[in-house]
């Protein structure tokens, strides 16, 4: 009864706000794989999601009606896997089902149990391995003796850490809260990631933190029982598949639980966890970090801007290429700005790139101005090589959806009447003269041959003088 009531309340809330509220680019249908006994821990997270327009469907992994696909179509746009005590999630939630969901463009958020006693279902660890994320076995816990939330906590397992920071060429979608210096609370085993560029660490452990086996190495963390340490210990990792589906692993579910949305004893300030939870879910469910190509225009010197996106260009002619990019942010697209130390690059390729040059933002395109996108443009001279070339904009960056735009065009050689005429080249003058001298001499010869009166042999000697 109470459950039903709660749900209807949520539905009412959603229907009230969803009209004006944002929506994920993938879609609002969200499956929460959540057991009844843990539901109470994540009320704020769920209500925050629903307030943003997500239509949640809370189901137990044991539920018989649970299926990710119906008639080979995705039933849900987003899935959140909450910690569970179950060892297996059942036949409908195999790792292959999760992967199929992602392959069909759906997003997944996986919350690992924070407590060392928590179990990780087999299908989840299989899913993790397949996307180059490595989860520690049961019993591990991340600790830091340097970054304690509470100095009297004996386990040292609640970490206090800063909001994520990234190199200057990477956009930070994970510190958008009101207080940029807020601290985060973390409790959990953490995880490790492989070298694939598809996997990005969102939050890494403090420098001297480590994750160890609480059962085997309670007295001393020896070499065999340490999972990872320092920056190698990842607390939150984001995976973006090649077709832009997102799978995020949170190395400790408590991070997004109600109990972390509190004051930190050490600093006596509110933790940044609630804003961070919003950022992580927003990124995972494609409310942020999604790029859209609004327009591509290219034109050559030959015809000028009057012929747009033509297929044929001439060698050694200027070509201008423009691309308009916008970025999704919760409920609207706005102009996308490339970080200053990063660069949006255009390649002009035939087998190998002949050019890889930066596209620079221009306040107005030579052709059209656009309101909600930034136009990046460049002009270059086609190589002195004819053939089938391709314009490529391959912009793949951490946390941004992939932009991979290709357009094949022909670069033709000079037409026969485009060369400089021979008299325009001073070097050919003697040879031009050669032809016409021969022609004039020949005409003279014809006249002589036709009409020359033979001279008597004897006379020739005299005449020569």
């Amino acid at each position: 009864m109470t459950r039903l009531r709660l749900r209807s309340l949520f539905v009412a809330l959603v229907s009230l706000v969803s009209l004006s509220q944002s929506i994920s680019l993938t879609g609002p249908r969200t499956l929460l794989i959540l057991e009844d006994d843990t539901k109470g821990q994540f009320l704020t997270l769920i209500s925050d999601l629903e307030a943003r327009g997500f239509k949640t469907d809370i189901l137990s992994a044991k539920s018989e009606s649970l299926s990710l696909f119906k008639h080979e179509e995705r039933v849900y746009d987003n899935i959140i896997v909450f910690p569970t005590k179950l060892k297996g999630l059942g036949p409908n939630l195999q790792s292959s089902s999760f992967l199929k969901h992602a392959a069909n463009g759906g997003n997944i958020l996986v919350l690992l149990p924070s407590s060392p006693e928590g179990t990780i279902p087999t299908s989840i660890s299989e899913l993790a391995t397949q996307v180059d994320v490595f989860l520690p076995p049961k019993g591990f816990s991340a600790v830091s003796h340097f970054d304690l939330a509470d100095p009297i906590e004996p386990e040292h397992s609640t970490l206090v850490l800063d909001l994520p920071k990234f190199p200057s060429d990477t956009k930070n979608y994970f510190n958008t809260g009101e207080n940029p210096s807020a601290k985060l609370l973390f409790q959990g085993p953490g995880l490790a990631i492989g070298g694939s560029p598809l996997v990005q660490p969102i939050l890494t452990a403090p420098r001297f933190a480590y994750s160890y086996d609480t059962k085997e190495a309670s007295a001393n963390a020896d070499d065999e029982n340490v999972f990872a340490a320092g920056k190698q210990l990842v607390l939150v990792a984001g995976v973006q598949t090649r077709h832009n589906a997102r799978i995020t692993f949170v190395g400790g579910a408590d991070m997004l639980a109600d109990k972390s949305f509190t004051k930190i004893a050490k600093t006596n300030e509110m933790s940044g966890n609630r804003a961070f939870a919003k950022d992580v879910t927003a990124w995972t469910f494609k409310e942020t970090g999604v790029l859209r190509v609004d327009m591509i225009e290219h034109w050559g010197q030959e015809f000028g801007p009057s012929v747009i996106n033509g297929d044929i260009y001439r060698v050694k002619h200027d070509v201008t290429y423009s691309i308009a990019l916008s970025e999704y942010s919760y409920d609207h697209f706005h102009p996308f700005t490339v970080p200053e130390t990063d660069s949006l690059q255009l390649e002009f390729t035939m087998l190998d790139p002949y050019y890889r040059i930066p596209l620079l933002s221009s306040s107005s395109s030579p052709l059209t101005a656009r309101k909600n996108s930034t136009i990046y443009t460049t002009t270059f001279k086609t190589p002195d090589q004819h053939g089938q070339f391709t314009f490529i904009v391959n912009y793949k960056r951490p946390f941004l959806s992939n932009v991979h735009e290709k357009k094949a065009v022909t670069v033709r050689h000079f037409a026969h009447n485009e060369w400089t005429r021979s008299w325009g080249i001073s070097g050919s003058w003697p040879w031009i003269a050669g032809i016409w001298v021969v022609v004039v001499g020949w005409v003279g010869f014809v006249a002589v041959w036709l009409w020359s009166k033979p001279v008597v042999e004897g006379k020739s000697g005299k005449k020569k003088q």
Binding site: W431, G434, I435, V438, G441, W442, P454, E457
Partner: protein, 165 residues
């Protein structure tokens, strides 16, 4: 001995022949006076026959020259002059190409092949119209040969003009 000499001075007899006719004319003038008409009736063998076995290469060249001057019909000489002219124009163009580079190469090919082609056409005209070869080309009258020559030359000129751009 003689061969060695001939080797060392081979360039000399060839140089006066193609490049210019005029400088050698004093030579030709002197020649008939020094050896006045030895045998007009049978000239073909006599002038060379006059040479001694050990005569110098210059003498040999002179003798050939004298024989050419005396025995070639004037009409054929006019053709020869035209051919010499073509060789000269071709040589200048080739020398220019060697000295100054072959850019633009098509212009060089067009200009040079104009002289070479014209030379070949003129040479065949000369062969077909030379009275000495009358027996060989009994079926081809000189006029017919000339018509072919004109036709061939026009095609050649068109080709060269087309090619030089």
């Amino acid at each position: 001995m003689a061969r060695k000499n001939a080797n060392s001075s081979t360039p000399r007899p060839t140089t006066p022949e193609p490049s210019s006719v005029r400088p050698t004319t004093p030579n030709t003038e002197a020649a008939p006076k020094s050896a006045p008409a030895p045998a007009p009736s049978a000239p073909s063998s006599s002038s060379i026959g006059n040479l001694k076995a050990n005569s110098s290469p210059i003498d040999v060249a002179n003798a050939i020259w004298v024989k050419y001057i005396k025995e070639t019909p004037q009409r054929t000489k006019l053709i020869d002059v035209f051919m010499v002219f073509l060789v000269a124009v071709g040589a200048v163009q080739f020398l220019y190409c060697v000295l100054a580079g072959n850019y633009p190469f098509n212009a060089f090919l067009a200009g040079f092949s104009a002289t070479v082609g014209q030379f070949v056409l003129t040479a065949s005209l000369r062969i077909q119209t030379n009275p000495a070869n009358k027996t060989e080309f009994s079926s081809v009258s000189p006029e017919r040969a000339f018509a072919d020559f004109v036709f061939g030359s026009l095609i050649l000129h068109f080709f060269c003009v087309n090619f030089i751009n």
